[in-house]
Structures are given as C-alpha cells and as structure tokens.
C-alpha cells in the first residue's frame, strides 16, 4: 500500500522540472493579483480536504495530531483567505478516490504534478519543489562528493526518485546501489556503516536530519518534481484561486519559509527527547498496536483451533480421500510463507474475486490458516500419542467412537497437546507482526510509524521488543497456569 503511493507520487517528475520552475518563477516575479486579506468567494466557507496518513514531513501524526508541511501551509492559507478546512486523513489513493467522487473538495498530500493527473485534476501553483540529495553519517568525513563513492555501497528507497538518480550515476562514479524499503532503515544502515551514503528525497531527508537521525547532507539538491494542491478539473475554482492567492501571500510575508524551516532545517540546537520522553510519547500508539496484536492473535488462534481439530481428525480418518484433503491443507499452509498469504489475501483475493478484503479479514485469514495447519499436526500427534488401549477399553464398554474420543481420548490428548499449543500460540502472536506488510496496525507496525517520523529506530525497536517480551511472558505464565489448573 505504502509503496504504491510513493511510486505514484514520483511518477514522471523529470519532465515537469521545467514547467514547475516556470510556474514558480511566475509566482515570484509577477506579483499575484489578489493580495488583499480575505477572499470574498471563499470567505466563511468550510472545505473538506483529503490527505495521506503518513508522509513525513508533509503529513504525519505527532502526539496523535496530524501535522506537517502540507497541514501548516493549508491552515495558514485558510486563515489568510478566510475559509475553514476540515482535514480527512484517508491515505493517498483513498484521498484521490474521495476527490473523484466529490467526497472531498481538494487533496493536499505531497502529490507530484504530472501530465496524467493534470488531465483529471486542476493543480495549484507548485507549493513545494522536491529533489534528490545525498547524505552521509554525521560523524564521518571521508565522503564529500560523488567521486568519493568509488567502490562503495549506497542505499536508496525502492521505487523512489533517489533510487533512479543514484542508479543513473552509479556507473559513472563506480559505486553500488542497494535498495531498501524505508527511510528509517536506510538511515540506520548508513549510521551503522553498512552503506556509506543514502540518496533520498530532499524533504524526507531534510526532515530526518531535522529530527536528529544522525546524518548530514554533503551534496547539492538535484531538482525533482513539484507538489501541488489538487481539485477536480473545472470544479472548486474559487478554492483553487484562494489557495494560489494565499500561497503567494505566505511566500511574500515569509511565513512559507518559516514553515519549511520548521520541518527541514538542521536543528543542531534542539535537544532530542530523552529515552523516557520517547517511551511516554509513543506509549499510546504502541498500546493500540499491542491491542491489535493480541486481538488478531486471539481471533486467529480460536479459528485455528477449530480448523486444527477438524483437519487433525481428518488426518486420522480411515478414509484415504479425507486424509488426502487434510494433508493437502496442512502441506499448503505449512509449506508456504505466511507473508505470501498475507499479500495473496490482501492484494490477490480482491483482484481475483472482486470482493473487498479488509486488512482485518486478510490478517485473520492468514494467521488462522497458517496456525490451523500446525494445530492440525499437533492434534493428530496428540491423539496418536494416546495409548490405543484407551480407545479399546472405552469401545469395549459399549461407548461409540465419537463418545470414546470425546470422553477418553481427546481429554488425554489435549493434556499432551497443551505445551505444543501454547508454543503455537506464541509463534502466532509473533508472526502477527508480519501483517505490518499489508498495513495492519499491530505493534511492530506502530513502532515503524513512530520511527518513520522521529528516526529513533534503535530505541523504538527496543521499546517494541520489550513490550512483545512482556506480553509473551505474561501469556506464557497465564497459559501454564491454565494448563496446571485444568490438566491436573
């Protein structure tokens, strides 16, 4: 999901450098007409504006509040022009979909102005000029220019402008480009020395440095695409005009630069939060993540138990067809990676069937089918470990197969299965972290969201790790207690 949005954003930027530059020049040179405070047409109106969920520094959550360059610019323009905005944080694609269906009046989401988009939207004057920049570890001085990269490895974000640019000059300067998925992990690998430099979008990089990610920029920005505010083509012309007027005003009175400085300048003076502030600030988000982790694990494991009992018994069936069905189920879900099914259910299933698959549905399906396959094997093993004499004794008393299983075999099997089931429950809980790949808001995902904004990767991961550890220890104690209590 995230990836798609980013890629879309970086589409065909190069061709628009010229247009953007001209637009910006027109803005700076030719003084805009409506400089007066307030705008009659939009005065007092409330507009609904869609935006992305997280694209620091343009929009991201800080202490629960949506903030960022886009948000500040939008709010100040609204104040200047006398209209009100109601911001909806929908996610990039969803915001555009909402715009097309007129559920929102405009979208501001660090969106590049492209040819294709211009056919369906009207864009404001560019309010931000992006570009690619190279950064190295703050405390190292051996790389100052591209020439210094010879024989070394740099990192760039998969599918980004930075990657495209780095690859375009890699041969010339003789370095290797390694692609990673997230800004935060790229910065970590530069700090740890596994790569000497990172090529990333200038605003994202500048924001990271501003947050104290331990890097510094050493080259000039390579100009890239421009970002614009969008409305549906031919609609909301007054809003668009007001945006342009307000933007010009902000640039003229210096507020625009203040906003950029707020997010992008190197705040060497500012002291980062200490560790306990970080814990306190990230705690609500992490607790929500933990809750999602526990909930999705509990629901999935309950379903996995039902599946496991069903297929476990099928595996013990005398009927070769039933046994085959059970073996197929077990082999498929035990023999393929969990992550593959997460992607399959979330991205593949909707395309194959046309159904809408929520991230919850996909997550629960993935975890429960995977755990179900293992539980089936645990159930089969548990039942087979019960002395066959037990079943014979029960049958010889005149109890049927089902009754004998229920009263005699399964209770004993369950006792033997309990340690394995507890083990599987813990594995499932940990495996639920893989669901972050489809954007499920579990614990590790929340941790990622936090360090994507503050770049305190190691500390955030440490906190997340401790929470996992405590949760799993508590769960283990609880399960063992229940085991002792019920399996005397």
């Amino acid at each position: 999901m995230e990836k798609k949005q980013r890629v879309a954003r970086h589409g065909r930027l190069q061709r628009w450098i010229a247009a953007a530059a001209i637009g910006l020049m027109a803005l700076v040179v030719g003084a805009p007409s409506a400089m007066a405070q307030g705008n009659e047409k939009v005065d007092g109106q409330t507009y609904v504006i869609g935006t992305d969920t997280t694209f620091a520094p343009f929009e991201f959550r800080q202490d629960g509040e949506l903030t960022g360059i886009d948000m500040d610019i939008l709010q100040q323009i609204a104040d200047d022009q006398g209209f009100k905005v109601e911001v909806r944080s929908l996610g990039f694609s969803a915001a555009l979909a909402a715009l097309s269906s007129n559920q929102v009046d405009g979208v501001i989401a660090g969106m590049s102005i492209t040819d294709e988009r211009k056919e369906i939207y009207d864009f404001s004057e560019p309010y931000f000029e992006s570009g690619v920049q190279m950064a190295v570890a703050k405390n190292k001085d051996d790389v100052k220019t591209y020439e210094d990269l010879k024989g070394k490895t740099v990192v760039a974000k998969t599918g980004s402008e930075g990657e495209t640019y780095a690859k375009s000059i890699a041969k010339k300067y003789g370095f290797t480009v390694k692609s990673l998925d997230q800004s935060a992990t790229m910065y970590e690998s530069v700090k740890s020395g596994s790569a000497v430099a990172v090529f990333d979008d200038y605003p994202v990089l500048a924001y990271g440095i501003a947050q104290g990610n331990g890097l510094k920029t050493v080259t000039d920005k390579v100009p890239g695409g421009s970002y614009g505010f969008a409305v549906n083509k031919g609609e909301n012309t007054a809003l668009l005009a007001a945006f342009n007027d307000g933007l010009a005003e902000l640039k003229a009175n210096g507020e625009y630069q203040k906003i950029l400085d707020k997010y992008l300048s190197d705040p060497s003076a500012s002291t980062p939060d200490n560790f306990f502030d970080l814990v306190a600030k990230s705690f609500p988000a992490l607790m929500s993540g933990l809750w999602h982790t526990l909930l999705v694990t509990a629901i999935s494991f309950a379903i996995a138990m039902v599946l496991g009992l069903f297929f476990g018994f099928l595996k013990l069936s005398g009927n070769i067809v039933l046994r085959g069905i059970a073996s197929t189920f077990v082999n498929i879900f035990r023999g393929t990676p969990l992550l593959l099914w997460a992607f399959m259910f979330y991205f593949g299933l909707p395309q194959l069937t046309g159904w809408e698959v929520s991230v919850w549905t996909a997550g629960v399906l993935t975890l429960s089918l995977n755990a179900g396959a293992y539980v089936a094997e645990i159930v089969r093993g548990g039942i087979q470990s019960v002395d066959p004499g037990q079943l014979e004794a029960s049958r010889s008393l005149g109890l049927g197969y089902g009754k004998s299983m229920q009263k005699v075999v399964v209770p004993q099997a369950f006792k033997m299965m309990t340690p394995s089931l507890i083990n599987q429950l813990i594995i499932s809980l940990k495996d639920s972290s893989l669901l972050l790949a489809i954007g499920f808001g579990e614990l590790l995902y929340q941790g990622q969201q936090i360090y994507a904004a503050n770049f305190r990767v190691t500390e955030t991961l440490l906190i997340v790790g401790v929470i996992y550890f405590i949760a799993i220890m508590a769960l283990t104690k609880l399960a063992n207690y229940a085991d002792r209590r019920f399996n005397k």
Binding site: D387, G389, Q390, E392, A393, S394, R395, S396, L397, G398, L399, G400, K403, K407, V408, P411, Q412, K415
Partner: protein, 251 residues
C-alpha cells in the same frame, strides 16, 4: 437383532469357522467353539497361537475376516447389529488394565453407565462403590489410577468391566503384566466371579489357575483349536503331541 435358533439358545457364545487374517498373515484358521451359559473357559497355548485374537473377535475389537460369531444372541458378524449394544453385554479386562488416567477410580467405573444413560450419576456412583467393595477397593474410589498398584489397577478394571452388568466376561492375559506377588489378589477376584456363575473366557498363562477355575480348557496352536477338554483330562492326559510338548515346557 438377529434371530437365534431355539437349539442354540442356551449357548452364550457360538463361533463357527472363524477366520482372521492381518494382511497375508492368517492368525485364526477356522475356529469352532460353543460356550454354555455359566461356563468358564480357559484358553492356553504358545504365544502367537491366536488366543488373544480369538478373544478380541468375540466383541469385535478385531474385524472378523470370515465365519460367524454369535454372542449372547447377537450375530456380531452381521453389519446391521449395533456392536455397541453387543459390547454392553460383554465385559473385557485387558493385560495392561487400560484404566482412564484422567478420571478417578469411581469415574472410570461410572463412565459407561452414565454416558450410555443407564443410570444417573448418583446411581452410577452407588453402583461403582458396590463393585469396588466387591473387589476390595472401596477406599480407593476417589484415587487416580496412577496411585494404585498393578494388582489394584486390574481389580478396578474388572469392576469397570462389570459396571454394565454384562452376561459374559472376557479376560485377556489379565495377570501377565503383574508382579508375581499381585497375581493372587486378581485371581481371587476372578475366581469369585467364576463361582458366581458368570460366563467367562480367559486367555491365561496361569496353568494352575486354569486347572482350578476352568470348566473347560482349550489349547490353541497355529490358529486352530488343537485340543480341548476338562482341565483334569487336558492337563492330566493330553492327547495331542503339540499339547504335551507345550505343557512340558510350562508346567
């Protein structure tokens, strides 16, 4: 249930030309056997001769390959006969006791009467205590099987087999897994049962006991009944070479 002819009605068990094979291994090669009501039949013979298999065919713990087995008036080879119903008339005691370890002694005995809706829990418990008294273990009613000695376990297993008030009791080497000093207490219980007029089939290695309690002793070898007769006659004057050979080794 199957109609049974007038002439055979005094017979508690009738076995006709019973064959049983496991794959290509023919374990029973045509057994014919009639057991009267109240008769105590001991089955002896070398290991691998098919004694236990024969016993297990009587309550269909083994699928019968061919032949006919009629137990207490039920044709157990008839697929239409509810085998669970038949088994309620036939108690079985195993070499390794097979007590249910997750239940108390009393619960072991109560399981069948309660689950098969013959009695409510209170009645079943009363019945269980009666049976435990009979095998001398009333004080162990609330104990777990794991806390009992081998001899005590087997006496509980006998009480459990009696819970449904069966007309027939099958004993599959009931004393073979016991320490020698515990054999006596179990044999004592079995003897009392025999004296009470119960129809019983015992597969046993206890020749002295077979001689003492058996109305008839059957010697099996290689999947057939080699020789049978009253204990005094079979032990005292065996007719077959195989029987003499076997007895000379075990007596």
């Amino acid at each position: 249930m199957s109609a049974v002819t007038e002439q055979s009605s005094q017979m508690k068990i009738q076995v006709q030309d019973l064959h049983k094979s496991f794959g290509s291994n023919n374990v029973l090669k045509g057994i014919d056997l009639d057991i009267r009501e109240g008769e105590v039949v001991c089955v002896i013979g070398p290991s691998g001769s098919g004694k236990s298999t024969l016993l297990r065919c009587l309550n269909k713990l083994e699928e019968i390959t061919s032949g006919k087995v009629i137990v207490d008036g039920f044709d157990v080879t008839d697929p239409k006969v509810d085998i669970n119903e038949v088994r309620r008339h036939v108690g079985m005691v195993f070499q390794h006791f097979n007590l249910f370890p997750h239940m108390t002694v009393a619960e072991n005995i109560m399981l069948a009467p309660v689950e098969l809706k013959k009695m409510d829990k209170a009645q079943a418990r009363e019945r269980a205590l009666e049976l435990l008294e009979r095998v001398g273990l009333k004080d162990k009613a609330n104990a777990r099987p794991a806390s009992l000695s081998g001899g005590q376990k087997q006496r509980v297993a006998i009480a459990r087999a009696l819970a449904m008030a069966p007309g027939i009791m099958l004993f599959d080497e009931a004393t073979s897994a016991l320490d020698p000093e515990m054999v006596g207490e179990v044999l004592q219980v079995i003897k009392e049962l025999a004296d009470s007029g119960m129809t019983m089939v015992l597969v046993t290695h206890e020749m002295g006991f077979a001689r003492e309690v058996g109305d008839r002793v059957i010697f099996m070898a290689d999947g057939v009944v080699c020789e049978q007769g009253e204990p005094e006659q079979l032990f005292g004057n065996p007719q077959q070479e195989r029987t003499r050979d076997f007895l000379s080794k075990v007596l």
